[in-house]
Symmetry: C2
Subunit: 403 residues, 2 copies
């Protein structure tokens, strides 16, 4: 009898050895039902101030291509709102479809491995605009659907094909048409690191290095050609561009040599200075932010969303020492009155702020020497030259204006 | 002091009276977080046999337009899988966008009111095919994304514009390209009741009436013109069309007069016979199905999905008295052997069946008089003429073939 039992045991072992099937667990099956049930329950809840969330569709491309974009958005959506990484595949359909299905598993795994609470959503389309349409219109489930489009600033807009720029701008128009808010994030160094060999490895080695001050932007008021792109973009949509950005306090140090490690196996040649800076900038949001300022440009009362995102950012551990400064426009003869009115509003929002700056010259004509930059008031110009990165919020969401 | 308290109470009352804002509850805010967290947790689970689900994208148009489609799919997705009602808005963009946002709230509420565990997903696109692309590529969140496209059979394919038919057929091709399964549901009476005035009211009054046998299809072997559309569609994709359908046992009664109620306020004129039949057919899946057969055509081994949906249907209360009959093709000289092999397979699936029919003549040439119908074997022709509705599954999903 024991012999008989042994035979059957060895049989079972052989069977389980030969069938290479993932049978999963019932707990995992339950995970599906939980997710489904909760999503359905959510769809029965009406929109109101307590369930408004910044639900972001980020045009990251491959999620590992623009780490700065990913990390900054994750800072205000993690555990609070939705984050979907949109990836538009272009080119021949058959080829793209194959890529799509392999990418789906690969990048979702990458997101989990990198502790990003986000969903990966690849589509195949004619161009970026079409793909954006697909995602903006159809992505999400019930009430868990994006309401905000996040894109990186198109760095090469001067050099690239006009049609590309048009596609890029039309993406914004489409977003407004279907009632999305738009967030544009700009780093001086750029966002896309996909051209760097083994960029992930680089980034993770970067992460381990102590928080260096190398990335402080060199302020050079004379060097117009380097800085005027940042300014040129600003007024073109200034009608609805309250700007939020974080300013690294200048410390006056001369930049130390960038870190050029050569121990990595996958890297054959050292990075050039621009790429090294790009990498440094890309990893900056994974580090503690220290005592910095988050500057909010409250140019008109859009219902409070311009303040919501900076506020959400300051609730995170890495950003908790940052202070919010609010910039508003006002008249020179009543600056004090305007400041007090804003302070009252902010205390109603229960948002802690370090300072309120009232710009009296916001409506005065710019000086002659600044007009090449598109005619922005001189105080804004000065501020923009100092700031480290700019996050432009274009919000037309007014359904939650009573936030 | 009491007076003071009273004053403040009345103040509060006044405030809550004047502000017309839905402040929601914290429980509702938590609902969002629950849904989000569970969805994110799900995205970390690998695909395996225990979390494969039929996740259906149904092209319903407005969810109340094709109730039969909705109810039949709900029978096998409710509490088990995902159900998304796709609605493609066409026409001028600005107008459609307005409709979209009003429809979103309206139809999601309609679904909840009608106890459908489903999501409403409207998009604006050039045509049905484009809209299908939007939804198939981008709808859903993480692992909760459709894997099966469900469409109604295009009833007017002979009369309508060839371009419409092409669009319809291309929808299937697109679905296969992105690894979707396709389910086509056909009712002889049709599916779309949106042309009927106050169709919802009609349907709900219909629901209360006792389950009538009026909808039994009149079997008339001589009347070719009425029946050949159902057959003509079948062989054109027979290479991969295991068909599942439910057959109402013929009871030989002469049809009683259709129910023509005139008590409804919104109806000005009585319905014609065709519309009355359409309404009867549309509400049939809301009733108990009684002792009927679900016929499964297992034409080739596609991994078991052809059986999964019928099996899921029989687990529901309304369908629990239905029996599954399996039809397979075989050779005349080994019918018994084929039947036993199939019975073994079904017992491995632990699926209860009432009968297995082996069709020996499936590969024999059709008789002369049947060739107008596209050359289907005579036993299939006879069966098709008797069946009440046809649900055609086109599955190419082979990732879960080890189910």
């Amino acid at each position: 009898c024991i012999c008989n039992l042994r035979v059957s045991v060895s049989k079972i072992l052989i069977i389980s050895y030969f069938t290479d099937v993932n049978w999963g667990s019932s707990t995992q099956a339950l995970t599906y039902l939980n997710a489904l049930q909760h999503s359905i329950r959510l769809s029965g809840v009406e929109d109101h101030v307590k369930n408004f969330r910044p639900q972001c569709l980020i045009m990251t491309g491959a999620p590992n291509a623009r780490p700065a974009l990913l990390h900054l958005v994750h800072a205000f959506t993690k555990n609070v709102g939705l984050m979907i990484c949109g990836h538009v595949h272009m080119g021949p359909r058959r080829q793209a479809m194959k890529e799509l299905s392999t990418d789906l598993a690969k990048y979702q795994r990458w997101l989990i491995k990198n502790k990003m609470k986000a969903f990966y959503a690849p589509v195949h389309a004619e161009d970026l605009r079409d793909g954006g349409q697909y995602l903006m219109q159809a992505a999400g489930l019930g009430r868990m659907r994006p309401n905000t489009l996040v894109v990186g600033f198109k760095k090469n807009w001067r050099q690239s094909d006009m049609r590309d720029v048009e596609t890029y701008i039309n993406l914004f128009h489409d977003a407004f048409d279907i009632q999305y808010g738009v967030v544009v994030i700009r780093l001086k160094e750029g966002l896309d690191i996909s051209h760097l060999q083994g960029q992930e490895e680089l980034l993770s080695s970067q992460e381990k290095s102590p928080c260096s001050k190398d990335v402080v932007v060199k302020v050079d008021y004379g060097k117009k050609s380097e800085t005027d792109t940042s300014i040129a973009f600003f007024p073109s949509s200034s009608e609805r561009t309250p700007a939020v950005h974080k300013e690294e306090d200048e410390d006056g140090k001369t930049p130390t040599q960038p870190l050029l490690k050569k121990d990595s196996k996958s890297r054959s040649s050292p990075l050039n200075l621009a790429d090294q800076r790009l990498l440094d900038a890309s990893s900056q949001f994974q580090k503690k932010q220290g005592k910095s300022n988050i500057d909010v440009w409250w140019l008109f009362d859009d219902g409070g969303l311009t303040l919501l995102i900076p506020y959400l950012i300051t609730t995170k551990k890495k950003w908790k020492e940052c202070k919010i400064r609010v910039f508003i426009g006002g008249k020179i003869n009543r600056i004090d009155h305007d400041r007090r009115a804003m302070a009252t509003l902010l205390s109603k929002f229960r948002i802690d702020f370090s300072d309120i700056m009232v710009l009296g010259d916001i409506n005065t004509k710019p000086k002659k020497e600044n007009t090449v930059n598109g005619g922005v008031s001189s105080s804004i110009t000065a501020w923009m030259l100092r700031c480290k990165y700019i996050l432009i919020l274009l919000y037309i969401l007014n359904s939650v204006s009573d936030f």
